[in-house]
């Protein structure tokens, strides 16, 4: 029954599907990147604070 019908044009849904995939992946990778960057900034700040506390005269 189905075989007699012509194949429906569903390419719009296909494009939608692949867009959802790539957008979601991009968002997640961006979130990993941003969290990583923020943590690195925190780390640098904390390290500089500690370095100052430990050796107030020496600069690092």
């Amino acid at each position: 029954m189905f075989l007699l019908e012509t194949t429906p044009d569903t390419s719009g849904y296909m494009i939608l599907g692949y867009s959802v995939f790539f957008i979601t992946m991009t968002i997640y990778i961006a979130s990993l990147y941003i969290r990583n960057r923020n943590l690195k900034r925190d780390l640098e700040m904390l390290e500089s604070i500690q370095a100052e506390e430990a050796k107030p005269k020496k600069k690092k």
């Binding site: 189905f2 075989l3 194949t7 429906p8 044009d9 569903t10 390419s11 849904y13 296909m14 939608l16 599907g17 692949y18 959802v20 995939f21 979601t24 992946m25 997640y28 990993l32 969290r35 990583n36 943590l39 690195k40 925190d42 780390l43 904390l46 390290e47 604070i49 500690q50 506390e53």
Partner: protein
């Protein structure tokens, strides 16, 4: 934090290449399905993400048990990484399935066992993040998280079995016990795209877990330093 180790750089590179090839195979190489048309092409990524999504949840449950036994925080980080990456992939699976269902079954959503279980599983792991967020002490967070992933890992298959009592319209792709079951027939080119997608997503999954693990160890370092500077 150390720069990315060379192995990770290679893995990143390989993941991107594999994703590109897999996209090519799915979009251009595989033939168009006759009944459903172009939309059937989301199938390759639908199954690819579903596979790594489920794999991650199994890994998380095992890591949870390993944490409870060994009390080694490494397992907790592993569990968190697996759950987080899998939640993302599983979200994609559900979204792709829904997009596929619209033209194929003429509805965005049906309460079929697989769809429903997928949605519930996703909710379990969202609840997991809320649970973790509400706990300050890392050690307690790890313990509760491990217990919850264990419960989730046991509950999800039972949910599936229970909903199976209702009839399913979801096609059985692999391991269909009898040929009379509604089954999608795949040509050999389709199979190539299918198995390549499974392989590609497994590699991408490992790559992302690795990145998430590195993020966790950085988090731990910062938390440790904050504690030190408070004292």
């Amino acid at each position: 934090m150390q720069p990315r180790p060379i192995a990770l750089k290679i893995l990143d590179f390989v993941s991107v290449i594999l994703l590109a090839i897999s996209t090519y195979l799915a979009l251009f190489f595989a033939p168009t399905e006759l009944v459903m048309g172009e939309v059937q092409r989301v199938f390759y990524f639908h199954i690819g993400t579903a596979w790594v999504g489920l794999l991650g949840f199994v890994i998380a449950a095992i890591a949870g048990i390993a944490y409870l036994v060994t009390k080694n925080m490494l397992w907790d980080r592993f569990e968190l990484a697996a759950v987080e990456v899998s939640t993302v992939f599983f979200f994609i699976t559900i979204a792709l399935g829904s997009i596929w269902a619209r033209p194929a079954w003429n509805t965005w959503w049906t309460w079929d066992p697989r769809l429903t279980t997928a949605a519930i599983t996703e909710l379990i792991y969202v609840a997991y993040f809320m649970l973790r967020q509400g706990i300050e002490e890392p050690e307690k967070r790890a313990r509760f998280g491990a217990v919850y992933t264990l419960l989730g890992g046991i509950s999800a298959p039972i949910t599936f079995m229970v909903i199976r009592l209702f009839r399913s319209i979801h096609p059985v792709v692999i391991g269909a016990a009898n040929a009379s079951q509604e089954k999608m027939s795949m040509t050999s080119d389709m199979k190539t795209a299918f198995f390549f997608a499974l392989f590609a997503f497994t590699v991408i999954f490992i790559d992302m877990i690795w990145h998430r693990l590195r993020l966790s160890s950085l988090e731990e370092k910062v938390e440790q330093l904050k504690l030190n500077s408070l004292m």
